[in-house]
Symmetry: C2
Subunit: 361 residues, 2 copies
């Protein structure tokens, strides 16, 4: 934690800031070790010399126990009081705030408080998120634990899934396995989408019964010690038709091409093109509507990105999902997603779940 | 849905607005019937004559199926394009936006787009949330389904809980029961807090083993068809000490006093005082640090409020939790929470779970 604060402080100097007000909960967790609750209402203020967490009485005890590098400011229900007190102690002239998280209403409140306290507020984006992109060894170890459990949950599903199960039932089989084998929670609403539903990249599991011979997209992840996993497989019970074989083969080749060519130094736009070129060439370019992938860590979706619009340049120890897909309205879709860690000369593929799509029945 | 839009439009006229841009996902669901996904990125624009949803290709199909009162605007990845197109069609001069939800970064983007499109943006708060406070019969019916399942899940816990179970295990017993008996999800991270942990109003369930004779706060709820429940009971395995009896009796009397006196016309501050007076009189005033309660609906925490700071005046068909608590650091806490519907002359208590705290073992 101490190093994370030091790195942030070095960034603040570069940006010409005397401090940063951190409101995004996963950034607060990253800097302090304090996860807060679901409804945590805390404000974190970091300057060259000081690091404060301002919150209400629900969280005083936990902050004291967990956030050892931070001074607790007991704000009670007066959220703005901390601005004046911090100004008296740290004497900042310009404090940044997280513009992609802070609401317009809160900024309005704070602007008054800051004016009174004698400092300026400056909108910033991505400062802590930038730090978080490069994972420490302990973070990668935590992500691996979540990935391993996800692999095992998928294997369990393949062992027990049968024709006539609903999408919801299949999703619950996976979630129950994860929760009973060490996951704190699922990383997102698990997706099991069968038949035509598999053509919707973000379908919610419903009461559709799984039929023989139709594609089933299974997009799953869990959270252990606040770190997430994210993995997709597409399976089919029984015998596939020619369409499935062709689509599956194309997506798998696209996924492997990306895994083979990505390494440190590659740009996010180019990474996306490695997979996209294979899908374009097979004639399915218009059916791959989303980007290739995203980083995974304390958030399921974080930097870097792999997409047509990405401006990221990859560095060692970034994580990335490689998840090309082809979606054909009315028929269905295929998506295959591995989570990888980017290394100097290649990627380390974390996801080890089987890519054999045909479940014999 | 049509009536909800009409009511919103009547409000817009009163506020001197030509339209409202709705970004808060539960407000979008309320107005359109479209729940979106977990990562839904949609913008909704409502004027006197038009109602649009702008989103990307992941959601086109679902919007068409579910949001019948709305016109789908296919935005692709250009989120701001809709501003100009909507302006051409609806010709607004002033559009409100939801200032307690919109981020500073998005407002910055939109301000440019709105200037170009020839209309002004005005910060607003609570317009749709105000409508949502008064529940329709179908909404109350949906909430009752979630409340009933929560009651049953609690009864199940009482039947199977035993000394030595961890807080986490007990929370999972409840969650599994809810999920396997009709809940789409839990309404929030369920709380089971035993012994000294029960003194933390928002404790996360941990690996502490439940011991004989200590208070166990169980704060649970589930979601069915997007509507939530919220209920707390405090139980104890074995024989209570005198402290528990006194604290429990005080909280229960406070809770009943509030349930007896609240009705339409009562103010949120006064509602809070009904329970607080009982706790103050028993000498535990300083140990009841939070407000009496909040509304429950599409969100677990919504208006109206019952607290020292509340300015709400209750109306028929609002929901409200009545959840006084006493928290004694080092010893533990007791909280008892029912969900009620406010009626003209009284409240209807929805929660039917037993308030007998002693589980014989």
């Amino acid at each position: 934690m101490s190093k994370r604060l030091d790195d942030l402080r070095a960034k603040l100097v570069k940006e010409g800031l005397d401090g940063l007000i951190v409101t995004r909960p996963d950034n607060q967790l990253y800097l302090s070790g304090f996860p807060g609750g679901e409804y945590l209402d805390a404000t974190m203020l970091v300057s060259a010399e000081h690091a404060w967490i301002s919150t209400d009485s629900r969280y005083y005890e936990e902050v004291k126990q967990r956030a050892k590098e931070f001074t607790l400011f007991e704000a009670g229900y007066d959220r703005n009081k901390v601005m004046g007190e911090f100004a008296t102690t740290a004497k900042p002239k310009v404090m940044g705030f997280e513009m992609t998280h802070l609401t317009v209403a809160t900024l309005k409140d704070w602007s008054k408080a800051a004016r009174k306290a004698g400092f300026k507020l400056k909108p910033m984006a991505g400062l802590v998120e930038g730090q978080r992109m490069i994972k420490e060894p302990e973070e990668i170890a935590a992500i691996k634990r979540a990935v391993d459990l996800t692999d095992r949950a998928f294997a369990h599903l393949c062992a027990v899934i049968k024709v006539g199960d609903t999408e919801k039932q299949a999703a619950w089989i996976i979630e129950k396995y994860m929760r009973e084998n060490g996951a704190d929670k699922v990383a997102f609403n698990l997706i099991v989408a069968a038949g035509p539903n598999s053509a919707l990249p973000h379908a919610m599991p419903g009461n559709r019964k799984i039929q023989r011979g139709e594609p089933i997209v299974v997009d799953i992840g869990c959270q252990i010690d606040h770190y997430n996993s994210d993995m997709t497989r597409t399976i089919l019970l029984g015998q596939p038709d020619e369409q499935f074989k062709k689509v599956y083969d194309t997506v798998l080749r696209a996924q492997r091409a990306a895994a083979k060519k990505i390494k440190a130094g590659v740009k996010g736009k180019r990474a996306d093109s490695f997979a996209r070129a294979v899908i374009d060439k097979a004639g399915f370019g218009d059916q791959f509507g989303h980007g290739l992938g995203h980083g995974v860590g304390l958030a399921v979706h974080e930097g870097p990105r792999a997409s047509k619009l990405s401006k990221d340049v990859y560095q060692s120890n970034m994580t990335l999902t490689l998840e090309p897909g082809i979606y054909i309205p009315g028929w269905g879709g295929v998506r295959i997603e591995d989570l990888v860690v980017i290394r100097e000369n290649d990627v380390e593929i974390l996801s080890q779940a089987s890519k054999e799509p045909i479940i014999k029945i």
